[in-house]
């Protein structure tokens, strides 16, 4: 086992390809650390992949496209672990919308309320 | 060539073959070649033009009636052949008196001249019309393709086609002039007059 944890990616083809090129991809005999979500990918698959990544102890960060995160928001809401960290990232078709990001909501509330 | 034929009935070669052919035969071959080659030229041209025209009209149907003119140009070469054939056919006259042998004072030079003349007139029309037909065909094919892309090119290429078509006219003009001098003698020459 190498040192360091993996970065898992759940996203559309562009996002996943990009990160794979950056070198996060890891394929072992029975599992991968990424999931390409296409239009015909079932929601259940996404949920399973997310739960799987979040339970693996070699995963440090889970990157997930925001529009996909919105689809499995019900799962994300119940997610309370600190590690792996779930990070919502923009995708090509869906520019980043801070309004939908749970963390950004908190940040804005705090900064807005604090000022 | 070990055994050279020495009999008087032996064929002495192409020269003898050609000189022994009847001038009527030559004249009629002239008509046949003139018409036949012209029609071959026309058909060839129409094929070249037609296939391109049909193909190009799939995507640009507007060219279909305009470019029929190319087909008509090709057709014209056949018509030249037909005209020439009719002119030549009218010039073949059989002798007034029917006999097994031509009389001694028959105008043999004129007779042969007419035969060879009409043969070559027919051949020149036929060959020029093949060339003309093919060249009109190629130009017409390009015309159809060009017109399909840009309608303004049609007239320009049509001029090229007209020049190609003119090649056939050269042939028919020369052919007519050539055949003008050809008169089949119909009676024996008047001796002493």
């Amino acid at each position: 086992m190498d040192v360091g944890k993996l970065v898992a990616v759940i996203g559309d083809e562009d996002t996943v390809s990009g990160f794979l090129l950056a070198g996060v991809g890891h394929r072992t005999a029975d599992s991968t650390n990424f999931l390409i979500v296409k239009t015909d990918t079932k929601l259940q698959q996404v949920e399973e992949a997310f739960l799987n990544f979040s339970q693996r102890d070699d995963v440090g960060i889970i990157l997930i496209n925001q529009h996909i995160a919105n689809d499995i928001r019900h799962v994300l809401k119940d997610y309370t672990q600190t590690i792996p960290t779930v990070l919502e990232i923009p995708s090509k078709e869906h520019p980043y919308d801070p309004e939908q990001d749970y963390i950004m909501q908190r940040v804005n509330m705090y900064l807005g309320g604090g000022n | 060539m070990s055994d050279v034929c020495t009999s008087p009935f032996c064929n002495a070669g192409w020269g003898e073959l050609l000189s022994h052919m009847s001038p009527y035969g030559f004249a009629n071959f002239g008509i046949a070649f003139g018409l036949g080659f012209s029609v071959v030229g026309a058909a060839w041209g129409i094929w070249l033009t037609g296939s391109s025209l049909v193909g190009a009209a799939v995507k640009a149907p507007r060219i279909r009636s305009k470019n029929l003119i190319s087909v008509i140009f090709c057709e014209a070469t056949a018509i030249y052949g037909v005209i020439m054939a009719i002119i030549l056919a009218n010039k073949i006259k059989k002798p007034d008196e029917e006999s097994y042998q031509l009389p001694e004072n028959w105008d043999f030079p004129g007779f042969y001249y007419a035969g060879y003349g009409m043969f070559s007139a027919g051949l020149s029309v036929g060959l020029t019309n093949i060339a003309s037909g093919v060249s009109v065909g190629i130009a017409g094919s390009s015309c159809a393709l060009a017109d399909a892309q840009d309608a303004s090119l049609f007239v320009k290429i049509l001029i090229v086609e007209i020049f190609a078509s003119a090649l056939g006219i050269f042939g028919i003009i020369v052919g007519i002039i050539e055949s003008n001098a050809c008169n089949f003698p119909i009676a024996a020459l008047d001796n002493g007059n």
Binding site: D2, V3, G4, K5, L6, V7, E13, D14, T15, V16, S17, G18, F19, L20, L21, A22, G23, V24, G25, H26, R27, T32, N33, F34, I36, G60, I61, L63, T82, I83, T85, L87, I89, P90, S91, K92, P95, Y96, P98, D101, I103, M104, R106, V107, N108, Y110, L111, G114 | -
Partner: protein, 244 residues
């Protein structure tokens, strides 16, 4: 509170408790403030990083588009073949005011890149550009991930600290104060009771001495006048003092 026996001993104990609670409150308050400052910093940093992240993301995705224009559709090939993670994250720990914050650091194994010859026939340079852009984006994201984890952890820590501060301020200290007050009151009461008792005892004692002296006087002199004198020495007003 009633279970606390109001003794001097206990008073001392509770005074100590109060002092401890107050200093604890002060410290926690300080910690809460420190956390709050940090928390604000993180919040600001997250807001900033998320802002730059979205521009990074745009350039990263656009480089992908450029590469696709130059190299054709190569995306499906990226996920093929064996892959070994070249970029991993190391988890360190940062300490802010006693709160342990997880920190991710980008960590490259230095292994060879997968599918190195992508775009060999054309567009290879653009593919390299995609690798670079996405690596930048990724490092940005990893930074953000640290910030975000810290943010959540700090948030949690702050909640706990604030709860403690509030608990000390609003529950524990008043409770101790109440106990102290009660002990004070009870002790005062006891004191006053003692005083009365003492006075009574004193009065009784004096009565006894007077009676004794009366008896001796009676016995020695047996004089009625002397009896009057004795009552005169007892001032009526003096007596009132002892009457409750």
């Amino acid at each position: 509170m009633s279970e606390v026996p109001p003794t001097r001993m206990n008073q001392q104990v509770f005074k100590g408790k109060k002092k401890a609670a107050e200093s604890g409150h002060k410290l926690l308050k300080k910690k809460a403030d420190a956390l709050k400052v940090k928390f604000r910093d993180y919040a600001k940093m997250i807001a900033e990083t998320k802002g730059t992240m979205s521009t990074d993301a745009t350039t990263a995705f656009f480089s992908l588009t450029q590469a696709e224009y130059a190299a054709g559709n190569f995306k499906q090939k990226v996920a093929e073949g064996t892959l070994t993670a070249r970029v991993r994250v190391g988890a360190g720990i940062d300490n802010v005011a006693g709160v342990k914050l997880p920190v991710f650091t980008i960590y490259e194994t230095g292994g060879p890149a997968d599918n190195q010859s992508l775009g060999l026939i054309g567009g290879g340079k653009k593919v390299v550009q995609v690798r670079e852009r996405f690596t930048v984006f990724l490092s940005q994201l990893i930074k953000l991930a640290s910030l975000q984890t810290s943010f959540v952890t700090l948030d949690e820590a702050m909640k706990v600290t604030n709860r403690r501060v509030n608990a000390l301020e609003n529950v524990t200290i008043p409770k101790i104060q109440n106990v102290l007050d009660y002990i004070d009151r009870e002790l005062d009461e006891l004191e006053r009771e003692d005083f009365t008792r003492l006075k009574l005892v004193q009065g009784k004692k004096e009565e006894v001495t007077v009676n004794v002296s009366d008896a001796t006087n009676k016995m020695s002199k047996l004089d009625i006048n002397q009896d009057k004198d004795i009552t005169a020495t007892f001032d009526a007003q003096d007596d009132e003092d002892v009457v409750f």
